[in-house]
């Protein structure tokens, strides 16, 4: 099994787009993602304090997992003055939207190596994508645990 086949389909496509982009085009692509990170939905806007902060990030990144019948949607809040981190968050958000917790847990921890961002970003900057992936996996694990506990509940919930 190749690394790509373990990725949710949309994330696989995004990785491929980055592979095809050359040099500074990779950064432009990341910037496009940074620009299109969806704003928090209304129901979360007043509840940002209830969201989990990814403490390992130097940039304040808030994330919440919404479970829509075992398909996860992540909502991120990242300050606009951190476009690189926003870009990662946005590509992960789009890439894993609607994936099951199992699919998310299968994403190889180094999937972003395939994107070739290490050529244009320093290791410290790459750490951001690693950290956010590790964090959404943690949330996916929690979802998995709670869905096993309440397997007949179909009510969407957040953590």
């Amino acid at each position: 099994m190749t690394a790509e086949s373990a990725l949710p389909p949309r994330l696989g496509e995004i990785v491929e787009d980055f592979q095809l982009a050359e040099g500074s085009e990779k950064l432009e692509l990341l910037l496009e993602y940074a620009r299109k990170l969806p704003p928090l939905p209304d129901w979360l806007r007043d509840r940002r304090d209830a969201m989990d902060q990814v403490h390992e990030c130097m940039t304040p990144v808030f994330v919440v997992a919404e479970n829509r019948d075992r398909k996860l949607v992540f909502h991120f809040d990242v300050p606009p003055e951190s476009p690189t981190v926003r870009g990662y968050a946005a590509l992960l958000e789009e890439g894993v939207r609607g994936a099951t917790p199992e699919q998310i847990l299968q994403i190889p921890g180094d999937f972003y190596q395939e994107m070739g961002l290490q050529d244009v970003l320093s290791p410290r900057r790459l750490q951001g994508v690693h950290t956010i992936l590790a964090y959404i996996k943690r949330l996916a694990t929690k979802e998995l645990a709670s869905s096993e506990l309440q397997s007949d509940s179909s009510t969407p919930h957040t953590i």
């Binding site: 950064l27 390992e56 606009p80 981190v85 921890g109 320093s122 290791p123 690693h130 590790a134």
Partner: protein, 285 residues
């Protein structure tokens, strides 16, 4: 809040946002934005400013070192900077990468350099204009000196020697958690890229951002003298500042050298990512 920059030892190295706004079209001035985040400039910058990135522009791609004289000359030419251009640096996060770029420029002797007090944040908070146009300037002929590593840059072995000397003052400008060694790893990742946590023996801890106010401008000379002086970081000492990779410590280097007028301040850019991993190097917790 307004104070005169004249109180600083070298008031000429600091300009205010008003000054920059008045010099946007001055052909003898080149604005340089340097940020931690490589994409931030592209979202909007001061009109006419060029971007200099600490990784892709200032670091050597293969050796852990800075660019050499030839590459610095090429970079200056590309950015439209001549030997007599006044270069004004500004950037995100209290100007930390701006002072880093300023410091690298000093390795090549470009002394006609300034920092915009308050950085990118203050410019934006004041509601001033931003542009996404990337300016192109005619290439220049720039002649740099060979990189001079001995006045303002400290190396590992020099720091090791310094531990035995009385007149040396080491200042660790990282957060207190990094200094005490409490913070090193995060789940699944070595946060500092270092094997051990702690600090260089004898170093005092004065986090770099202690030197700025809420609005990112530098504190007054009196306040700064108090902050550094009470910890024994005084002008009679041979001061060496360090952090993780030398960016935060270039900010402190700038404060001590230009705002307080210390004669001998060096930035140890190997910093904790070298010292914390170095074989045979003593640490303290």
């Amino acid at each position: 809040m307004t104070q005169s920059n004249q109180e600083y030892a070298r008031p000429d190295v600091l300009v205010e946002t008003d000054w920059v706004a008045e010099h946007l079209n001055d052909p003898n001035v080149r604005l340089v934005e340097s940020n931690e985040d490589v994409l931030l400039y592209d979202l909007g910058h001061i009109p006419g400013a060029v971007k200099i990135d600490w990784v892709s522009d200032l670091n050597d791609p293969l050796v852990r070192d800075y660019l050499d004289k030839e590459r610095f000359e090429q970079l200056m030419s590309q950015k439209g900077i001549s030997n007599d251009t006044t270069v004004v640096f500004y950037g995100d996060k209290n100007n930390w990468w701006a002072t880093y770029a300023f410091w690298v420029f000093q390795l090549f002797g470009h002394t006609n350099a300034k920092i915009m007090n308050g950085g990118r944040k203050k410019w934006i908070d004041e509601g001033r204009e931003l542009s996404t146009d990337v300016p192109q300037y005619p290439p220049t002929q720039y002649t740099a000196q060979e990189r001079s590593d001995h006045e303002i840059r400290a190396f590992r072995d020099e720091v090791l020697q310094a531990l035995k000397q009385q007149n040396v003052a080491l200042v660790d400008v990282r957060s207190n958690d990094e200094y005490t060694g409490k913070k090193l790893h995060m789940p699944e990742y070595p946060q500092e890229g270092a094997l051990r946590g702690g600090h260089i023996p004898g170093a005092q801890n004065i986090p770099w951002a202690t030197a700025v106010r809420e609005d990112s401008t530098f504190k007054s000379r009196e306040e700064l003298e108090q902050i550094y002086g009470t910890k024994g970081i005084t002008p009679d000492k041979d001061v060496i500042a360090y952090c993780r990779i030398g960016e935060r410590s270039s900010h402190t280097w700038f404060v001590l050298t230009y705002l307080l007028g210390y004669d001998k301040v060096r930035n140890y850019d190997g910093s904790w990512t070298e010292w914390g991993n170095g074989v045979g190097l003593p640490i303290e917790k």
